[in-house]
């Protein structure tokens, strides 16, 4: 005999949709199995809450239930034998999500044992143990250049077993991304092959900084360009483009080059005004003349703003 959905969610018969939603959220936060990894009963409880909410959030079902046309089980069981994340987290695939991103290093464990058993050399059975855990999938990691990651590339890689693999790096691949090469793993006894997984590490670029699919880079401009404006040439991953700097451009001003980032991302240019290496007489004289005629102090502006 299943319970009344109103009782399960602890709401009145006349509760509004918002009240029901709020009650469901509150209970779901408390009883979600992934938020209660060790509590086996959370599973049942969460299923009950989800089923009750499923019934009550649907106007037709709720009305039918209120009229007594369907019972509390009169809805399809949501999820059935659903597997939660906690069911996978301890498995080999779950290591992809472990916080350090890597597998547990057997050497660390051996080190712990070494200390525990008075520095005795690790037993060979440890090695066997970890070898047994391996399956036919093999895992590699390698470095690729920033531009290769941005634009995609084809690469020939020599694997530790001496085999050559040709790999297509997809455009916009991210640092830490794993690529799957189907059937390129080890051969099993029954003749099937595992897969090869390659984790790519994107090397940093000298000037470009990548955030998602956008690219940021700082570009120096001269004092004369900042004052007078002008066109400057900017390198992007898609080649060089010219941008126009308006008269009176400040340091830190950012220009967006739409679609010039990775894939559909943008390229942002932050300009920095850079003084000439040597301030010569001409520049000095020009500035002196200018200052004599104009009283200009950028800090005055700030003071006025902060006191007003």
């Amino acid at each position: 005999m299943s319970k009344n959905p109103y009782e399960i969610l602890s709401v009145d018969k006349g509760a509004s949709d918002d009240e029901i939603k709020a009650a469901y959220r509150k209970l779901a936060k408390k009883h979600h199995p992934d938020l209660n990894p060790d509590n086996k009963s959370a599973d049942e409880k969460f299923k009950e809450i989800s089923a009750a909410y499923d019934l009550l959030k649907n106007k037709d079902k709720r009305a039918a239930f209120d009229r007594g046309e369907i019972d509390a089980q009169g809805q399809p069981q949501q999820g059935g034998d659903r597997q939660y994340y906690r069911d996978f987290a301890g498995g080999p695939q779950g290591t992809r999500y472990s916080s350090s991103g890597g597998n547990i290093n057997p050497e660390n464990i051996e080190g712990i044992f070494g200390a525990m058993f008075g520095g005795r050399a690790p037993d060979t059975r440890f090695d066997d143990m970890f070898r047994q855990q391996q399956n036919a999938d093999i895992h590699y990691r390698f470095d690729i250049g920033f531009m290769e990651a941005a634009l995609g590339a084809k690469k020939q890689v020599t694997m530790p077993d001496g085999k050559n693999l040709s790999i297509t790096i997809p455009e916009g691949v991210k640092d830490g991304q794993k690529l799957r090469l189907k059937g390129k793993g080890q051969k099993l006894q029954d003749g099937r092959h595992g897969d090869a997984y390659i984790e790519v590490h994107v090397l940093p670029h000298k000037f470009f900084i990548r955030k998602g699919d956008n690219i940021y880079n700082q570009v120096p401009i001269g004092v004369h360009e900042a004052v007078l404006g002008g066109a400057i040439k900017i390198e992007t991953v898609h080649g060089a483009v010219n941008i126009k700097i308006p008269k009176g451009t400040n340091s830190g001003k950012s220009f967006r080059l739409k679609g010039k980032g990775i894939k559909s991302g943008d390229h942002y240019v932050d300009v920095q005004i850079v003084m000439p290496d040597k301030i010569d007489e001409d520049l000095e004289k020009a500035m002196k003349d200018w200052v004599e005629k104009h009283s200009y102090n950028p800090r005055n502006k700030n003071e006025k703003e902060s006191t007003s």
Partner: protein
């Protein structure tokens, strides 16, 4: 193994491709990819459901989900480490 389109069909919470890619960009999901696109396995599917429930149904904000997933991942990693240790101890004795 599933592709993004299969995942979107399979998930009973309304989300679109853009949202899924956002979850990947945030590091909440780490599917592997082959030459064509991302591929999702059962672990990823369970994790997508979890992320959708936390973020979309229970309305936890981005920062909150970041912290929850990070703690959850640390917990499972600590457990995996513990399990290896226990197994190694059993083999040793």
């Amino acid at each position: 193994m599933m592709r993004i389109d299969d995942v979107l069909k399979e998930i009973d919470i309304l989300i679109d491709r853009h949202a899924l890619e956002d979850f990947i960009a945030r590091g909440w999901l780490r599917p592997v990819r082959d030459e064509a696109d991302y591929v999702f396995d059962d672990t990823d599917m369970a994790r997508i459901r979890l992320v959708c429930e936390l973020h979309i149904e229970m309305k936890f904000e981005y920062d909150a989900v970041d912290i929850m997933l990070s703690l959850m991942d640390q917990l499972y990693q600590a457990r995996a480490c513990n399990k290896s240790l226990v197994e190694a101890l059993e083999n040793k004795s």
